[in-house]
Amino acid sequence: MKEFLMLIREDANYGELSAEEMQACIEKHYRWVETLREKGQFKEAQPLEAGGAHIRGKQRIVSDGPFLEGKECVSGYYILLAESLEEAIEIAKGNPDLDWDRAVEVREIMPMED
């Protein structure tokens, strides 16, 4: 079994969602994660704070990071369990975030060499 990092990218404009849409979004995710758990395809997931810092180069230049308002940025991550990238992609396609036109990125986590 291999581990895959799934990053969620979205432009966080939640003010456009109605109360019902927010509830629907939560419930769809919750149910989806439950089915992943049942199939043994879920390891963990966490949301990320919107703020943060971007630090670059030898000069250690610190900026507010790529978290500009209205721009797509990483809002959270999942660690999925799958046999292959193809399987991980199929799992990721089930992510309800895609129904809200967000984007996800799936990357295999390189296993440590023994």
Partner: protein
């Protein structure tokens, strides 16, 4: 919350109104904007966290805690930046360790009623009252309001700003007046809730037909008023009317979104438990001994709901009830036309034709449309196909929304031209 991580339907909406009510009671109407922002922010935080881990065990407590912390931080921030003076709002009074004002609020309903009365303040126009009520008590955001009431976002934003300024200016000190003092305001509040329900029900501007969310909110807010209701406010009658209305939703719209007229509706689609609920409130209203506008309308709706087929409708009684309504509201075109329609079914179309010929309406295009559509239908049933066609053509030119036009076109198809 049940064990499956499922939140109750409308949980966010209901809790939104409740939190705003409790927080304005404790921190004052002067901070309404900050409170609304904190509450909206709380739901966004809930969205971000709960979609990863599901709702917490005690979602209400979680939301209240987060909202209060956000509000206190915002108030402290405002105070530091000179938006509020220390005297106006002593910073030491802001402590997150105090009892949670939302959870500690022993009379959450009272708070919401007072807020509802404030939102229905006569200084605001009817439209503004509907907008601010939905915004403050039901958590409708600007895009949602614009969509539901078919207004542009800028207009909604301006209306809300205007209303909030008036609410602050009136410096409504919620919680200081006994809840009983709201009684004289209740009829006005009921009028707004009635209009709100109709806004959702009558599809005046919305091509989607029935807007369930608006109707549901109107029902929920009307229910809130029950503990303080007076006979004149007709709260139970209004509830009965709303229940009889929502019970028939599934049959009113076809799968492809067209209106289905009463005579063609599949009555097996009517929701019998909602109809039962309607009769329960109608019974309660009857006990109050006050027969006002909502009671008569609810009674008419109950006769439609009780008829097993269109042909089994008690049109004679319905006609008489419309007559009583007309006595109360002589200026309403809708009521006068409905009385004539009832009469045309009770006695046949011919006796109504002469009355329709001399029928005049006020200048509104909506009223003119109703008259033309009614004329077409009555002429058609009387076999006056040429006149029916002319009336339908006129109705088409006056139609206010695509569903109305569609209904008229369908009627024209069944009316052969001579």
């Amino acid at each position: 919350m049940d064990t499956s991580g499922q939140l109750a339907a409308h949980f966010f909406r209901e809790h939104s109104g409740r939190m705003v009510a409790s927080l304005t009671r404790v921190y004052g109407m002067a901070h309404l904007d900050t409170i609304l922002d904190a509450v909206q922010d709380t739901f966004e935080t809930a969205l971000i966290h709960w979609r990863y881990h599901g709702p917490p065990d005690h979602p209400r407590a979680w939301l209240s805690q987060v909202a209060r912390n956000k509000l206190i931080n915002a108030l402290k921030h405002n105070a530091r930046h000179g938006h509020a003076t220390e005297a106006e709002f002593p910073l030491h009074a802001l402590s997150t360790t105090d009892p949670d004002p939302v959870l500690a609020d022993e009379a959450p309903t009272d708070g919401q009623i007072q807020l509802l009365v404030a939102c229905c303040h006569p200084a605001l126009s009817e439209r503004d009252r509907i907008l601010i009520t939905l915004h403050i008590l039901s958590g409708f955001g600007i895009p949602e309001l614009a969509n539901a009431l078919q207004l542009n976002r800028e207009a909604v934003k301006k209306a809300l700003q205007r209303s909030k300024a008036i609410l602050r200016q009136k410096s409504l000190k919620l919680g200081q007046h006994a809840i009983a003092a709201v009684a004289p305001q209740l009829p006005t509040v009921c009028t707004i809730l009635y209009l709100l329900f109709n806004e959702g029900y009558k599809a005046t501007r919305n091509s989607r037909g029935i807007d369930f969310d608006l109707c549901y909110e109107a029902l929920r807010l009307t229910k809130l008023l029950r503990p303080v209701a007076t006979p004149e406010a007709e709260v139970d009658a209004l509830l009965a009317l709303m229940f009889f209305g929502v019970a028939r939703f599934p049959a009113r719209l076809a799968a492809y979104g067209d209106w289905i007229p009463l005579e063609e509706q599949d009555r097996s689609l009517w929701n019998t438990s909602l109809i039962t609920e309607g009769f329960h409130y109608l019974d309660q209203a009857q006990r109050s001994g006050y027969a006002g506008r909502y009671y008569l309308e609810a009674l008419i709706a109950s006769h439609h709901c009780a008829a097993s087929h269109f042909t089994a409708t008690d049109w004679k009684t319905i006609h008489d009830l419309y007559q009583l309504l007309e006595n109360i509201e002589p200026a309403s075109t809708l009521i006068r036309l409905n009385r004539l329609i009832a009469k045309s079914y009770a006695l046949g179309p011919l006796p109504v034709i002469t009355e329709l010929a001399t029928f005049t309406v006020n200048g509104s295009p909506g009223a003119a449309f109703l008259l033309a559509a009614t004329k077409g239908h009555v002429y058609q049933r009387a076999g006056y196909t040429a006149q029916a066609h002319t009336a339908y053509e006129e109705a088409l030119s006056l139609a206010q929304n695509p569903l109305d036009s569609q209904l008229i076109r369908k009627r024209m198809e069944t009316s052969p031209r001579t």
